[in-house]
């Protein structure tokens, strides 16, 4: 195609969007969003409004957002001012890009570009345009690509503008955040393909916008349902095991016959869910794999951030266990984990596990160890069926292991929930025990957590009587140290399907959770929409 034609189509689209009031409003809103961080700067010493006219320390500022901060409010209180500054900047970026522009902004962009196709194919206008020596597919693609291009430019303007405004105003910004420009454009391009198809079929702007919104909702429901069911399916074995452990002695009547809890679970497991449920699940799966995964855009941006930026300050990250050690406790220094082999006991069976991280405090002699081993299969209940270990069965195994040898003594066990923010929590077991070793008695505290296919234990141990820095024991005790602000933060979530899926989605691994599959199938859907639009457009008699 000649460059002259490309330029003409591009300019035509440009004039068209510039003439559109919704688009103008969008540009003004983006301008305001870019300017906002200049007027509200997040400095290390607090929040400054209007170039320092008013200043608020972070505790006062965050107090006013207390309701919004929820559980993490307590987390903030133990952070340094630079960490709070970083948190505020990240929260602002997330609020503007993922929240505001990722949802409302996309709606407005769709409204601002939905008329592209209907206006082109409406009676009177189509005769003039389609009688020119330009093929219909060229005109269609030109409209689609120019729509995506303009929204891409706006997304870049917003993301880069916000980034530089934060750099100027607050003196800091996360450069990995720039990936969001791509994520916003990607999300729009997926939805705009639907708008394009509806526009060609209905030839109505209003219908295009409304039906795209309905599609967005339907799409969200399909993916939401799939994530929910898939998450349940993934943890089915664990749940079954937990229930099995809980049913001891309980009997229920089923069809007049008494059944034990374990028998009931097995019957349920073996039972036929029914053709109706099967059909719904198969349909949901098919739709999930086929429809564009618009919700993945922000997660992919986050993964890109992680992939390209990494975490320079983090002394330890375990992708598979999804554990991250953000910083070492005071006086601790990382050492070669293999140097502790044979010196410290771990969650059995030891031969299946490894110490993946170790740090020692020379002054106190304390050690911090992260140990992991895969989830194993073990005989279950009265049936003796092999099932994957659950947290409950692991707890039993750990207790039995402590009791099996006189060199160990369990002091206490607490079932705790580890929470981050307000969106997720997961259960963990907090064991306190004493190890009678050849070099003396050691006080050990082990936090046992299951994540996916792994069991991890984060273990703090020190010789009895050694004086530990209060901050270490306190933080370890209230677990903020590990999962909220301090050292080890789980990158995973457990009970929120969206968070669970976001954590599963990755560059490698099972194809269902592969970013490549997500992007590939979504782009395949876009291709299909364009193909159908072209097929329909080629058959329209103007």
């Amino acid at each position: 195609m000649k460059f002259t034609i490309v330029r003409a189509l591009l300019l035509d689209a440009l004039y068209q969007v510039l003439d559109n009031k919704v688009f103008r409003i969008l540009v003004v809103v983006i301008g305001l969003l870019i300017l906002m961080p200049l007027f509200m700067a997040f400095r290390e010493d607090g929040v400054q409004l209007l170039f320092g006219t008013w200043s608020f320390p972070y505790d006062k500022f965050l107090d006013s957002f207390g309701a919004m901060m929820g559980a993490s409010g307590s987390v903030v209180s133990s952070m340094s001012s630079s960490e709070v500054q970083e948190l505020c900047i990240q929260a602002y970026q997330s609020l503007i890009i993922t929240g505001l522009m990722g949802n409302l902004g996309i709606f407005i962009c769709l409204a601002a570009t939905a008329f592209f196709i209907p206006q082109m194919v409406e009676k009177g206008a189509a005769d003039t345009v389609f009688s020119k020596p330009v093929s219909r597919i060229t005109l269609l693609l030109a409209r689609y690509l120019t729509g995506v291009l303009f929204v891409g430019i706006l997304a870049c303007l917003l993301v880069f503008g916000t980034h530089f405004a934060l750099l100027i105003g607050s003196g800091a910004s996360d450069s990995a955040f720039l990936w969001n420009a791509l994520a916003l454009t990607y999300k729009f391009s997926l939805l705009y393909a639907v708008t394009l198809l509806i526009g060609v079929v209905t030839r109505s702007t209003v219908a295009s916008i409304l039906l795209t919104i309905i599609f967005m909702m339907f799409n969200g429901c399909v993916h939401g349902a799939w994530k929910g069911v898939q998450m349940s399916a993934d943890s089915e074995m664990e749940t079954g095991e937990s229930l099995s452990g809980d049913t001891g002695g309980i009997t229920v009547k089923v069809n007049g016959e008494e059944q034990s809890g374990d028998e009931l679970i097995e019957a349920t497991d073996d039972g036929d869910a029914g053709w109706f449920i099967d059909t719904i699940w198969t349909t949901t799966q098919t739709l999930h794999y086929t429809l564009p995964k618009t919700g993945d855009a922000s997660t992919i941006a986050e993964k890109l951030q992680t992939t390209f930026a990494g975490d320079e300050n983090s002394p330890f990250q375990d992708e598979e266990m999804a554990l991250e050690l953000k910083s070492l406790p005071p006086t601790f220094e990382a050492i070669d984990p293999t140097s502790l082999d044979g010196k410290s006991e771990h969650f059995p069976p030891a031969e299946d596990g490894t110490i993946v991280f170790a740090a020692v405090s020379e002054s106190s002699g304390a050690r911090l160890l992260v140990h992991r081993r895969p989830v194993l299969e073990a005989p279950s209940g009265s049936s003796g069926r092999m099932r994957r270990e659950s947290s409950r069965s692991a707890e039993k195994a750990f207790t039995a292991w402590l009791e099996a040898d006189e060199s160990r003594q369990q002091d206490s066990l607490e079932r705790v929930f580890i929470a981050e923010g307000t969106t997720w929590n997961r259960s963990a077991r907090d064991f306190r025990w004493t190890a009678f070793r050849t070099d003396g008695n050691w006080s050990v505290r082990t936090l046992l957590v299951r994540e996916g296919d792994w069991f991890g234990s984060i273990q703090l141990e020190h010789p009895e009587g050694a004086e530990l820095d209060d901050s270490i024991t306190e933080h370890f005790g209230n677990r903020d140290y590990m999962f909220g602000t301090g050292s080890i933060t789980s990158m995973h979530a457990s009970r929120d399907p969206s968070a669970w899926y976001a954590e599963k989605l990755d560059w490698t691994g099972d194809w269902k959770y592969s970013i490549w599959f997500s992007v590939g199938s979504s782009l395949g859907f876009v291709f299909l929409c364009i193909l159908l639009s072209w097929w329909r457009l080629a058959r329209i008699d103007f």
């Binding site: 034609i5 035509d12 004039y15 009177g124 005769d127 003039t128 020596p133």
Partner: protein, 316 residues
Amino acid sequence: MSESILSVRDVEKTYGGFFGKWHKALDGVSLEVGRGTVFGLLGPNGAGKTTLIKILLGLVRGIEGEAELFGKKVGAPVPRTRVGYLPEAHRLPPYLTGWQVLRLFGQLCGRDRAWLDERIPLWLARVGMTKDAHRKIKEYSKGMCQRIGIAQALIHEPELVFLDEPTDGVDPVGREAIRGIVEELKDQGTTIFINSHLLMEVEMICDRVVIMDKGRIIQEGTMAELTPDTGAVRFTVTPYPKDLPQLIGGIGRGLNEEPPGSEAEDTGQFELTVDGTETDKIIDILRANQIGLRGLSRPKLTLEQSFIDLVKKEQR
């Protein structure tokens, strides 16, 4: 006929279906248009004229039969580079100015910007739109849109131009200017295909005419063939003789007898078909009866009359 640049053979087009009623818009239409011809396409509403033009431009697809432009099948974009089109009731992009419209459509036809920037002012001047060139189309009146529409159809200097109701909504001065443009294009050898309800204009401009009805061609020919000499002689007399039939006593044929007090009495005109000697005889009778002869002419059948007669005959 000169080299054929447009050819249609047994073209049929049917609309409808999918639970709707089928409607045959074109039913076996065949025609050829030679280079440099000004071709008129006439017919009542729904005759299939616009459908035929749209088929030739690839706007309507799914036809039976063959249609070619410049020796290539219609539908492919390439032949359309050499074609200009002014659609009926067209809608130009309202967000563009007149100047931008001409540049956009010129570029879509493959002309580069520099070439267009030279010609746009000339075309704006020719259609009388120089003053309003930088106003947006949405601010234009219907006539102004029509003028810019004509300019966009011609800006890239096409060899074949389809004008569908070119003077629709244009004032008399504008109509004259458009007629002038068409005459000029004709002199330059551009082939013009006009579809218009203003038969006077078609009669003034066109070389050949096709009359369509119900999707079929019911008459085709040159202007002379469609507007033949009727053989009648028109006498303008005063006073108008009340007993005219008796007076001329059976000389000639087809006397248009008018009732007393009719328009003929006011105009003093009557017509009848006569040969040379019979004319002299009638003149002698008129003089003998002291009836003054004020005029004598041989009227032709107008295109409009010819069109109405044909369509009425077809509809019977």
